[in-house]
Every structure is written in structure tokens, then in C-alpha cells.
Amino acid sequence: MPDLIEKKTAAKIPAQSGSSAPAPKPEKARSLGSDAWEELRRRPIFLISAALILVLIVMTLVPGLFTSVDPRAGDLRNHYLSPPNYSHLFQADWFGYDGQGRSIYSRVVHGARASIIVGICVTAAVTLTGGFIGMLAGYFGGWMDTILSRVTDVFFGIPLLLGCLVVLNSFTERTVWSVVFALTALGWTQMARVMRGSVITVKQADYVTAAKALGASTGRIMLKHILPNAIAPVIVVATIALGGYIATEATLSFLGIGLQDPTISWGIDINSAQKVIRTAPFALFFPAGMLSLTVLAFIMMGDAVRDALDPKLR
């Protein structure tokens, strides 16, 4: 039988020739991921942001690569000592010294850890919880949607910063993880809403009906057919929010309710530098600049990834 069919196939192939342009690289399996990668590799915005993020992550993991100076070692002789005309790079006094005579460069390097951990962990946690809840609400609808959406609304009504103040106040010792917890507890609502809306749009698509008609199970429809099509807006919101969470952590630390002094955070340093903004602007400039750069890098990355992941935009 296969022989017979092959003969028939061969005979009738010329029927449609317009669409049969041979692929340039035969036998090369291309997944959505590899397609997106090909696309990303050629985008300067992605390359710049990826390089920045890579540097930040290395800074988080092994700050010793960038500086050997102890960020907590203060020498009051260096009280707000300004940088020496930047004549030598990557030295302890490259960025100057803060009020307690600690190297600002070293503190900026070590401060990356708090920001990156908070940003990545909160985003992951928020996307998972919010995404899960939004998926359930959007897909099943009915009473499930009613209950989940009302719960989301209740949490959404709590102002993020104020809520964090309350939650963090209840911790006797505040670490990076308590900040992650507080931001997650209050931040998941945004993701749940985006996911829900996105799932509701996607679940009405014909290919979902088609998958159902061809016998796919509910779990499979949700994971394979709805999730990949509904995730794009969530990725965009998540990356923008990632920058936001880093900024919020800095804000909380600035307000004195986030991280506490032995922990090194850009927010804490910005806070302590605000009093001397006129006399020692560099003490504010470097941690604030790093913060802005980090937030910017994640937002650019999110934009590029979104464009690459959506085959319809190509």
C-alpha cells in the first residue's frame, strides 16, 4: 500500500507549486525556541541588554571578580572622598567613598545581589502564582472565575508600597527573602489579571476547539495550546514588572522598611546619600545609576524577547 500511495503522490504533486519552495536548510528541525533564538541573536537591543544582565548576574554570583575591597570596611579618613578624576579604573576609590568611608564601587558591585535576587525571584513567584490563578479563572470561567477574580480584586485593592510596609513591619528580621515574600504576596494580582484576560481571548480560538475535537484532554489543551499563545502578554508585563520590583525593593530600602544595613542594597545607599546630594553627588549618582541601568536592561530584554517569541510579528 505505501508504494501505491507514493506513486500517486508523485504523480499529483505539481498540482500546487506556488507554496512548495524548498526550505533552504533541509532536515533542520526548528522549534519555536530555536527560531526565537535566531531572531534574537540579530537584535542589538537584545545583545546590549543581555550583556548588561549577564554582567549583573555574574556580579551577583561572584562579586569578587569585580572588586576585592570589602564593601563593609569603612575608613573615616575617606569620609565622602570624591573620586580622583577617574584616572584609574576599577580601583576601590574609582567611584569615591561614602559617609563612612566605604568604597562606593565595592558597594555598588555587592549591592547587585539584593536587587537581582529580589527582581528575579519576585517575578518568578508572581508569574507562577498569578499565572496559575489567572489560567484557572480564565479557562474554567463560571463560579471558579467569580471567586478567583474577587480574591484577586481584594488583593489588587491593597496599594503595593503600603501593603509591603505593613507586611515587612511584621518581620523582626528583614532579609532579602522577606522582601521577596512581601512583594509576591501583593504583586501576583497583576499577573493573574493579565493571564486571565489573555486566556479568555485564546480559549475562544478555533485551534482550541479543533484540539478539543481531535480528542485533546483539558490539561493538554491548557498547557500546549492555550499557555504558549497566552503567555506573550504575561512575559511583557513580567519583564516590565521585574524592573519595577527592583525599583520597589530600592524604594522600600530607601524608606528604611526594606533591607537593613548589614545587607548591601542600592536603595539603602541612595537613602544615605540623599543628605549630601549637593556636596557629594557621586555618592547618590552611582547606586542610582546602576539601579536605572538594571531596570532598563530588563525592560529592553523583555521587549526583545516578546518580539522574538511571537511568530505573528515576524
Binding site: M1, I5, E6, T9, K12, I13, A15, Q16, S17, G18, S19, S20, P22, A23, P26, E27, K28, A29, R30, S31, L32, A205, D206, Y207, T209, A210, A211, K212, A213, L214, G215, A216, S217, R220, K224, H225, P228, N229, P311, K312
Partner: protein
Amino acid sequence: MTTVIEKAQATDRLVPGTPLLEVRDLHVEFKTKDGIAKAVNGVNYSVSAGETLAVLGESGSGKSVTAQTIMGILDMPPGRITSGEILFRGQDMLKMSNEERRKLRGRKIAMIFQDALSSLNPVLSVGYQLGEMFRVHEGASRKEAKAKAIELMDRVRIPAAKQRVGDYPHQFSGGMRQRIMIAMALALEPDLIIADEPTTALDVTVQAQVMDLLAELQAEYHMGLILITHDLGVVADVADKIAVMYAGRIVETAPVHELYANPAHPYTEGLLRSIPRLDQKGQELYAIQGLPPNLLKVPAGCAFNPRCDKATDLCRSEIPALHQVLDRDGAELAGRKSACHLWKETLHG
């Protein structure tokens, strides 16, 4: 893989005399803001293995709703099945559990949709989507699934299947996409395929190719085929019998050539007269006057009476039953039924 002939024999053994699929007195309605829309009002039809039934009707005649009900993909609510049976090999599918029905879908009954671009998942390659059928239903490995996907693409005559298996739906032309939909429906060699306007979104030349392919594969696999369409031209070559639907009812059923030659319902007659023909060049094309009825307010009596130029008082008061149609000598015409009080005048007049 069982050969086609073995499969056909097995199918016949399993159904001694009973049709593959039988829809009995199906009623479906939709709850809307303005009231209850009765989309399907007592539809009866049956398909046997190897047979093609064309369900013909305008938009809103209930043909697609019937198909969705058979597949079990009707949105409920707002839809509601008020009564009726759908027998697949003698078993009422409406009484099965969701899980039992899901196992029939894809394996025993598959569906081809109108718009292949929107019916294929845009973020998954066609090879993955074809292979998914084998992975979900037969537990095939990735590699096996891919090989089978290529085989299927070959079978529906997609050129260079091996190179194109990793392409995404938007990289294919309309006709090729519809072939992929056909391949997906065929993947597990189901007993019955429901094709809901499979060629409506395609160019006329491509329509013919796709219909030919469908008919050929149907014969090869000895499947039952329900072809839902509003295009009389598409039906003629492919179908064995036709059911014409109007306002949620079947108004006429007949073997395909008899229906074209001599319709027994004024609606069918009107439809046939409104096909443009070359020998009528320059003349005004006939059109059935008026619009299809609003399903919230179906006219009393025969639903077609406001548009029918033969309508009598009887038509305006009493809903006609689906009569057996007789020839001039009073002998029954096999498979021919008409829901018209005036079928005799229409058929013989």
C-alpha cells in the same frame, strides 16, 4: 498498521446493518438575551461507513450546530441539547461521560474546520501538531510521531514534506493548510469525519483539489463523511446523499443526483435555480426573496412560507412533517423525503 481493506471489513463486521452514525430527533437551543433561539429542531440523519452525506444550508440553518453537537464541542451554556439521541455504532453519545466522549474524538470521529489558519495553533509547528495526535492517543515517541507526521503530509500531497515538517502554519498557503487539517483528522484513521465547510475559505481552483483529495482518502479508508457546506457546486461530485436544512430542520433528503435533477422542496428548488449557469448569460440570476428567519421568531407553520411563492394557508399554519416522497405511480423513491405540504406539485409539477 492495519491495511485499509482489513479495516473496512472490521468496520462492517462491527455494524451489521446499522449506520455508523445516526442522529435522532435532535433539538438544540441557545439561551440569548432576547430569548431562546431554537437552532436545531428535530434533525434526523444517518451516515454509513464509506458514505458521504452532504448537509446543505444557509448560515444559521443549524448545520454547524448539529455537527458541533455530534463532536461534543458545543459551548454549553449558552447551548443546550433539549432532546434527541446521537448514536455512534448504536451507542448514544449524549449519554456517555466526558472522558468516554473525549476518547472517541480524534480516534473514531474527527473534524475538519473551515478556516485552517485559525484552526492550527500558531506557535506550534505543523509537524508537532500532527505528531501530537500519535503522541496523545497512541503514546508514540517524539521520533515516531515526527516520522508519522511526515508520512501523513505525504499522504495529503504536501510537497517536500520532509523539509516542511518543522514549518509553522503561517508559512503554508491556504490550500496546504487545509491539507494539514485533513491530515490531522485522518491521522488515527477514524471511522467518521465531519468536515465543516472545508473549502469555504479557499480559492475555487484549490477547492476542487481539496475536495478531490478528501473524497479519495475517504474512499481509501472507507470512512463515513459528513460534509457541511452551503455550496451546491462542491457537493455534486463528492456526496452520495444530501440533507437540506432550513431554520433548524431538515427540509429535504435525497440521493445527490436525484436532488439536482428533480427537487421535492421549493427551498431546494430555489437554491438550485440561484446557481449561476453559463447558458443563462445575460439573464438576471434568480434569488430566493427575503431573508432566512430569525431563530428567535420562526414563522408559524413551515418556516420557509414567507419566502415561498407556492405557500398556501396550510403552509402558514401547520409545520410539515418529513414525508416519504413517491413517484408518479405511487411507488416510494428510496432515500427521498421532503418536508413540504406541496411536495407532489413541486416534484411532479
